[in-house]
Amino acid sequence: MTAMHADSEASRLEKAEDLRQLRESAEDFASRASPLVRARGLRGTALGYDRAFWDALVEQGWTGLLAPQECGGFAQGFAAAAVIVDALAMQLAPEPFVPAVVFAGRAIELSGGGPVHAELLQDLVGGKSIPVVAFEEQSIATAVDLTPRTVRAEKFSGGWRISGTKFNVRAAAGADGFVVSASLPTGSQSLFWVPVASAGVAVESRQTTDGGDSATLALDGVVVPDRHLLSQGSRAEEALTRAFDEALVMTSVELLAIQRAMFAMSLDYLRNRVQFGRPIGSFQTLQHRAVDLLIQKELTAAALGEIVERLDHEGAPRMRSRDASRAKARAAAAAVQIAKDSVQFHGAIGYTDEFDLGLYVQRTIVLSAWLGNAWMHRRRFAALDNVTEGAQA
């Protein structure tokens, strides 16, 4: 027992050292390769991001961070993924790391170990394909709901025929295909792989407030071969839910990085901006407001500290979902609060587009709403608490 304890302590220290090195190289890469001016310039472009930069991420091996080794990945887990997500978010890199590598990649991986899954993961790891998940069925959802209802798939001799509309598909404009949740005639649910080039697929993009892309995906009798059925029944449900929860936690990590960036800019401004002959950071009300933001940021960090760690361990799905909703609830609300107060601290200049704070504010707005906002996730957290038996939503 004591020996084991020492061993696990040693391996823990080793792991921590690995993560420290990864963090160092990730931050170095991100700040060098992705200065804020890059993020600024990509706003409102066709994809909203840069495929060449994605290739550089592939080069770094980061697209394979989560995928299993047999698919060319490194299976490093979420503690490592969080390091990359954090470094990229700090620089506002707009590439869809969480939508593709975490959400779509994990949905595929958790769906099964067949040849098509392996192929899709290899393509993701190798940069040949960027997949995203299409699961929302309301233009505006006010409650978290992962169950497909209006998008339906039907079996026919040539494979499956899928029809219906998905909403709020982030980073759809540059996606090579979609992991689509659909209901089956049996009433159970399923996940399909739908290449963007399939006949009947229409992607109607619109710009998000951070200059990124969010699309409505119309599927009009889209035909896919049998092997594109990635999973069905409880396996599909579990894969989607788990990948969703993992994406929630990683999005929360992004939001924490953005909180840090905005808070650091604010502290800097408070220390240096002079009004009435004094730095404005010497005014007690601004000091105390900054303290309240500090606490929100540290609560986010503390919560994510335990939640990211638990993500790498098998646990009860309900607890994982609770953890994930708790993470998003705090990270999103704290980020919005920090965004608003940072603009207030800065005054007029904080509201101008040319000042970089706005880039973080815009990303905050997008990420806090994506996959459900703080209000929705507080309710999901509470609903999961109240489920004592039976199926969960």
């Binding site: 969010s214 009435f276 608003k340 200049i349 990420l367």
Partner: protein
Amino acid sequence: MSQDLNSLDDESFRRTVRAFFAEYYPEELRFPKQRLRWAEVKPWFMALSRKGWAAPGWPVQYGGMGLEPAKLIAFIEEQEKWGVARTPDMGLTMVGPLLIRHGTEAQRSQYLPRILAGEHIWAQGYSEPNAGSDLASLRTEAVEDGSDFIVNGQKTWATLAQDATHIFLLARTEKSAKKQEGISFLLVDATSPGISVRPIRNIAGGEDFCEIFFENVRVPQANLVGERNGGWKIAKELLTFERIFLGSPKQSQYALARVREACALLGLERDAGVQDRLTQLELDAADLNALYGRFVQQVKRGEALGPDVSMLKLWGTETFSRIADLLLDITGTAGGLPGDIPAPAGDSEEAINVLTSFYNARPATIYGGSSEIQRNILAGQVLSLPN
């Protein structure tokens, strides 16, 4: 004709006003979601101008409607009910009353008719990059040169100055004086050589505010309003007046209507969590309206507004901000999308706009004296708390 309006009973007056709106106000501009530019709203302003209704609050002798207070309020209420857009109104609400009170006869006859005719559009030149909350530390200077001032400096945060033909500004005319004491109030033709106006793109993607650069701009000394070096007092008077305007419950009431519409479209009308928050905000706006009414009464009685009017601006803008927060919450997954978002599950054409309110709430607590400045004013000048 304005005399006639004042003698009507309330309902007849409102009917008359509504009939005019119905005939002349462009249908497609009703309840606009964003502030309109001059080009968009000019035809409507010209209709008002031709009717003699451009300045409901100005005295008749200066070409206004000379409405008595109750009628003026009814006029405004009917505008709001009809969804009439705000026109660029710095000339009507700020410069006009200012010149009537502090201007020379020559200034009045030069400027007032042209404001009414829609020839002059005014912008405000107060804030500077290094004089935001600490407005009196402004550095734009006006140096005497013969019968002119030569103005150099930079103004910012000037609402819709890209549409302006004229600028009223604060400039330093005496450098050695205590900072509030060396400031003068000037009227400047925006087409003067040396002026350049640059719209500032904001984080919502709009361009409501501008920077204005002054490089050796000649301004006749005749354009000085009030005493030389006496501009701070005039500016403070305008700011106090502006605060009742900025503290109007209108913005909150409008945003509450948007929340109620969203609740209907999203099936949240019976959601106690949402409704509890909404009711709280409705009461916040209702009580703001009562407080606003007290200050309006004060204006009606011809009393000067005191520093306590800062309460209105504070509570009004912070209530508006909380309403915008609620709207952002209840529109869930659509929160990242600017513009109109189609309502869910709808054959309906209904749409919800989420982010306009959220973004508008940001400058609301900054300009016209930030919330922090308003609280300082109230703590010092109303509560007499020690320094």
